[in-house]
Symmetry: C2
Subunit: 337 residues, 2 copies
Amino acid sequence: MPVGTQATVKAITRRELLELNAQIVLCNAYHLYLRPGVEVIAGLGGLHEFMNWQRPLLTDSGGYQIFSLQSLRRVTDDGVTFRSHLDGSEHFFSPERAVEVQQAMGADIIMALDQPVGYPADRAATEQATERSDAWALRCRRAFRRDTGQALFGIIQGGMYADLRRRSAERIGALDWEGYAVGGLSVGEPKELTFEMLGHTVADLPEAAPRYLMGVGAPPDMLRAVAAGVDLFDCALPTRLGRNGAAYTSRGRLNLKNACYQRDPSPLDPECECPTCREHSLAYIRHLYKAGEILAARLVTYHNLHFYFGLMAGARQAIIAGEFARFLAHWERVYEE
Amino acid sequence: MPVGTQATVKAITRRELLELNAQIVLCNAYHLYLRPGVEVIAGLGGLHEFMNWQRPLLTDSGGYQIFSLQSLRRVTDDGVTFRSHLDGSEHFFSPERAVEVQQAMGADIIMALDQPVGYPADRAATEQATERSDAWALRCRRAFRRDTGQALFGIIQGGMYADLRRRSAERIGALDWEGYAVGGLSVGEPKELTFEMLGHTVADLPEAAPRYLMGVGAPPDMLRAVAAGVDLFDCALPTRLGRNGAAYTSRGRLNLKNACYQRDPSPLDPECECPTCREHSLAYIRHLYKAGEILAARLVTYHNLHFYFGLMAGARQAIIAGEFARFLAHWERVYEE
C-alpha cells in the first residue's frame, strides 16, 4: 500500500496510481480527522469521493500518530486525549470514537485503536499497553457497524516480549476480524528481533485472513516478512526517499545527489521500464534535485513506487513458481550493501 | 512560452507539456550557466537532450537576472561582472560570451545580452543603459554563429521614455534579427505606461519577424499586447500562482486557500476540460494546499497552463474570425475585478 497520509500519495496523481496499478492506498485517520475534518470528508461523500479514488482504501486508526507525534496528553483505559499538532486543540479518541470516525470517512479497511510502545520499553510498560490494546480491540470490534461493507482489522502488540506477543495474538486471534495487523515492530529494534517477534506474532493466526505488517519497510525486510507469512504492507519509504533524492533500483539504493552522476547520461535503472527511466538521465534528475525542483520528487517517487510494485509482483510470481527462496536471496544480496 | 527557468517547467513533466501542446519552452541561461554549467549541458548533447524536449526552446540571455538578482558587481561597456547567487563565485559576461554560452546550450532561439533598467529610472541612467544595450546588441549579432540553425533575437530597451524607445527600436530594427523582443516593460510601472511604451517600441518594427514581449503577463495584458501586434510571451504567473494556490478560470482569478471552498464539491472551473477540473473538487484541492502537498502545485499548475494555452488559442481563432476586439473586451471584463 502506498502511503497517502493526507489523502494524497505525496507528489503523485490518482491517474498515475492507476497507471502503476496500485490496488489500495493507505490514508491516516488522525491527520484527516484534524484536517480537513471527518465532517468535511463525510459531507463530500466519504474519502473515496474526496480523493476520487474508487479502488480500496485503508485508514490507520491514529494510535501510532497520537503516541509518536508528541501530541499525547493522557491515556486511560477509557481512551486517549491528545492535542492537535496543527492548532493545539484538545481531542479525545476512545476505541468506539476511533471506529466511528473511520467508518464515517468510509475506507474499505479500518484499523482498531491501539497503544503502541517504542523501543526499548520495559516489560511492565509493554504489558500494560498490550493489555490495554487488547481490551480496546474488543471494544472496537463491538462498536463496529457491520452493515457498511467495511472491514475491521485487529492489531497485535506485545513489544519485544515473546510471551506478550503470543498472548496478544491469541486474544486478538480469538475475535472475528477481517484481517490481522502486526503493530509495534520496526520501531528502532535490531532487524533480528523484528523477525523473531514477527514469528511469534503470526505463528497461530488464522491462515485464511490477510496479515498486515504495519510500517515495514525496506525491500529485503518486506520479502523476509512475506517468507514469514505476511500479505500486506505499508511504507512511506518509496515516496519519502523519492522526495529526498534516493532511488530503489535493480542494483540497490542510489543517492541521486552524488556528484558522480553530474554528467551521467544513463537512466536511473537500466532495467526499469518506467517513464522516469525511459525518458530521463541521471544527470538531469540530479540537476533537478540540486535546483530544488518539484519535478525531481515526482520523477523519483514514481520510479520508486514502480520498483516496489514490481518487487511485490515478482514475489507473487516467485511464490507461484516455487522459487521464492531464490528470489529472496537475490534481493537480500542486492540490498546488503 | 511556459517558463522553465532551471530546465523544467516547475512541477510539470515533458509528457504533460506535450499533452498540453506546448509549442516552445523558455529556459534561463543565467541559471543553467551557474548550475549545472554550460559544459555539463553541452557535454550531454545540449539543452534539448538534457531536458528530453525536442520541440523549440528559447533561452533568456541572463541580462535580466544579473541586473535583478543583486548579483551585479560591475558593468562597463565591455560587459558585466556578476556574482553567483549560489556560491558567490565571480563571472563575466560580455555580449560575445552570452551568445557563446547560449549557442553551446543549443536553444533554438537565443537572446542578445542587454542592460535593463528598473522603474522608476531617471533619463540619464535609462539613456546610458539603452545606448549600452544597443551597442551590445550589435556585438551579439556579430558574434552569432549562423551555421547552427539557431535564431538570435534583439531586445529593444528605452525604459519609460518614448524617444529612447523609438531610437532603440530604430537601431535594433536596422540589424538583421530573426525576431524582436521588447525588454524593460512590466517592471512596476502603471499599466497605461506599459502599453504606451509598447506602442512606441513596436510601431516601426519589421512586420514579418516575430515580436516577443518579455515577462508579460496576466491574461488581459497579454491580449492587449496581442492587439498591439505582439506574437510571443513568456510569463511565470501560471506556474508560480499554481504553486501558491491561485487559479486562472473562465470567471476570473480564484484563491484556493479561501475558506469558502472548504466543502465545495464543484470543480475549479466548470468550463474547463483539463484533468484537474474533470477529476477533482475545490474542496480537495484546497485541502491539498492547506496540507502543503506537492499534488496541489501539480494540479493547479497544470490547470493554469491549460487555461493560458486555451486563452492564446482562443485569441488566434478570434483574430482569424475578425472578432478579436470582442474577445479582448470579454477577458478585460472577466479580469477587471
